[in-house]
């Protein structure tokens, strides 16, 4: 069980408001990702849920019970920190056993859970080592192991992968996703990496400056960003945002079109431009195209085999059905 509800929760440090009144519902078993630029309050929000910070106002309800003033240990949540926060003077086994020891579980049960967690996380060979003798990925797994054995109502992750190298990050991403399918426990996951958000989440919460910009499934956010911020934040490479005549023609202040929704052709199309930098990824190529009368280049995705070079002329055709239109207030127009 692990449904978490935030009702009008705020947080200020001194007279700086870090979290503005915020409502959010996290269903039992959901994988929710908080994503947003650095300093937008993701960690603070997670720590409020964990109980490591007191709310300035508002209510936090966990499984139907008001948990606003419940101390962290009693909320039944487990947290995995960005720095892993392993106990350096304890072996891996003792690290994993620590929460159970604090809860006063009997030894046999402790060992059973340790063995199970170690087997699931490939840690069996390292149980008698200390954290200092492990690699970053192994430490991460120990931190997850320490969270699993508590059998918490929900897991909280604060940028757990940001200290790992790219290859390991992809691997751990899959492992955490698998863990979620297996345990079916609620997970709240903080990241500023939108690829992690898109690939792992059931529900993404986009935050900016302490406010929720949009909540929805990854595809909802991709298909129908509610405002310019979400439009620019979700998707890689970023959506092209155009103002001026192109927007006015379509009755909007700003229009957005994703690089993958623009067709490139060497001879026909409504927008004519010059190829600038091109990024060849093998499967795809991204061209940065300069269009007359515009400072910002437009990013266009083309097939990996298309061969166009710096300075070539290119014609672009946007997919009209996939143009996003935004009004003067930055909100999406129906």
């Amino acid at each position: 069980m692990g449904a978490i509800t935030l009702e009008k929760v705020t947080k200020s440090f001194g007279d700086v408001d870090v979290i503005h009144p915020l409502d959010l519902r996290i269903e039992d078993g959901e994988f929710v990702v908080f994503v947003g630029p650095s300093g937008c309050g993701k960690s603070t929000l997670l720590r409020l849920i964990a109980g490591l910070e007191d709310t300035s106002s508002g209510r936090i309800v966990i499984d139907g019970a008001d948990a606003t003033d419940v101390p962290p240990a009693k909320r039944g949540l487990a947290m995995v920190f960005q720095s892993y926060a392993l106990y350096p003077h304890m072996t891996v086994r003792k690290n994993i056993a620590f929460p159970m020891r604090m809860a006063g579980l009997d030894k046999a049960e402790q060992n059973r859970r340790i063995e199970a967690a170690a087997a699931a996380l490939n840690l069996t060979d390292y149980l008698d080592r200390r954290p200092g003798q492990l690699s970053g990925g192994q430490r991460q797994r120990v931190a997850i192991g320490r969270a699993i054995v508590r059998e918490p109502a929900a897991f909280l992750f604060d940028e757990p992968l940001s200290n790992l190298d790219a290859a390991l990050r992809v691997g751990m991403r899959l492992e955490i996703s698998e863990l979620h399918t297996r345990l079916k426990t609620t997970m709240v996951y903080v990241t500023h990496d939108q690829v992690e958000a898109m690939t792992m989440a059931d529900k993404i919460v986009v935050l900016s400056a302490g406010r929720i910009e949009q909540v929805g499934s990854p595809l909802d956010l991709y298909r129908e960003p509610r405002n310019l911020f979400v439009a620019g934040f979700i998707g890689s490479p970023k959506m092209n945002l155009l103002t001026g005549a192109a927007a006015a023609e379509r009755g909007a202040t700003t229009i957005g079109i994703r690089p993958e929704h623009i067709a490139a052709s060497p001879d026909t199309g409504p927008w004519r431009g010059i190829v600038g930098v091109s990024e060849h990824l093998g499967s795809d190529t991204f061209f940065h195209v300069r269009i007359e009368g515009r400072d910002e280049p437009i990013t266009v995705r083309a097939d990996g085999e298309v061969s166009l070079h710096h300075g070539d002329t290119i014609y672009l055709t946007p997919d009209e059905n996939r143009i996003h239109r935004f009004g003067p207030d930055g909100l999406r127009l129906a």
Binding site: A73, M79, F81, F98, R150
Partner: protein, 290 residues
């Protein structure tokens, strides 16, 4: 120090200081050892004949000897307990954010800057004196008989004075250790269900283990040779109730002018210090390994 050339250079660079330090140590040590085998009394001029272990025999059978050894160990042990326990508590207190933190920290460190003789005199005359002392005044003001600390509890009083001097040192070192503890670790422990005492027991204390070891080792070195505080307060008395080894050696070589006997005592003090050192390293030395 990876290459052979850099190792050789390093040795060449270090050798002057190593030789100087060795000379500094070895010459007095050798002379002490040499004197300890002579009958060498400044009141009896003339030859200083070689007498073998006679000085040692006299030193070990001196009625004050056993008391002095016990007092030395009590003094070291007592001060260590007070300063380490008190230092941990003070460090925990000073680590809390509070109003006037800067001033309080300076106040806590201040005793360390007071010379041992001065602080001992202040304690003796202004606090512990049974007639004029502050403690006597306090005792009288609540209708109690003033207690003559230095006469009735001389060793405990000296332990108190010395602890007061060394508490800042312990506090300072332990405070820096405490401040280097990763706060996420404490938060993780808090989420894992550890209350304040469990966090102290399982996180804070192991984290401070190395600093505590350093405090114990450094203090032991200095505490084995406490002298000034005894000289200005009790003169080793009453009787020899507060005589430690250092003071006994001083009494024998400088009050009785017996250089030979004093040297024998010095050699024993060195041996005792080494025994204590081996003991300590056995007990807590592994804390220093990374």
């Amino acid at each position: 120090m990876a290459t052979k050339a850099s190792r050789t250079a390093a040795r060449a660079m270090m050798s002057p200081s190593v030789i100087l330090l060795l000379g500094w140590m070895l010459i007095p040590l050798a002379l002490t050892l040499y004197f300890s085998f002579l009958r060498y009394n400044l009141l009896m001029p003339g030859g200083n004949p070689f007498v073998g272990l006679e000085n040692y025999e006299y030193f070990f059978t001196d009625p004050a000897f056993q008391t002095a050894v016990v007092n030395t160990l009590l003094l070291v042990g007592g001060v260590l307990v007070v300063t380490v326990v008190g230092g941990i508590l003070l460090a925990l207190l000073l680590d809390q954010a509070m109003w006037g933190q800067g001033i309080v920290r300076i106040l806590v460190i201040a005793p360390f800057f007071v010379m041992p003789t001065v602080s001992a005199l202040v304690w003796k005359n202004m606090f512990m004196n049974p007639v004029n002392g502050l403690f006597a005044y306090l005792a009288q003001s609540v209708g109690l008989e003033p207690f003559d600390f230095l006469a009735h509890a001389p060793l405990a009083s000296i332990i108190g004075i010395v602890s007061w001097q060394w508490l800042p040192f312990a506090t300072l070192i332990l405070l820096t250790a405490l401040q280097s503890l990763d706060s996420e670790q404490l938060e993780a422990a808090e989420m894992d269900g550890a209350g304040p005492f469990a966090r102290f027991r399982f996180m804070v204390l192991p984290h401070m283990a190395r600093a505590i070891t350093v405090v114990i080792l450094i203090e032991t070195i200095f505490l084995l040779s406490i002298f000034a505080e005894i000289l200005v307060t009790t003169n080793g008395g009453p009787g020899n109730a507060s005589t430690n080894l250092t003071y006994l050696i001083y009494a024998q070589s400088l009050l009785q002018f017996d250089v030979g006997l004093g040297s024998a005592g010095g050699v024993f003090a060195i041996i005792l210090a080494n025994i204590v050192a081996i003991f300590l390293m056995r007990m807590i030395g592994r804390n220093l390994d990374a």
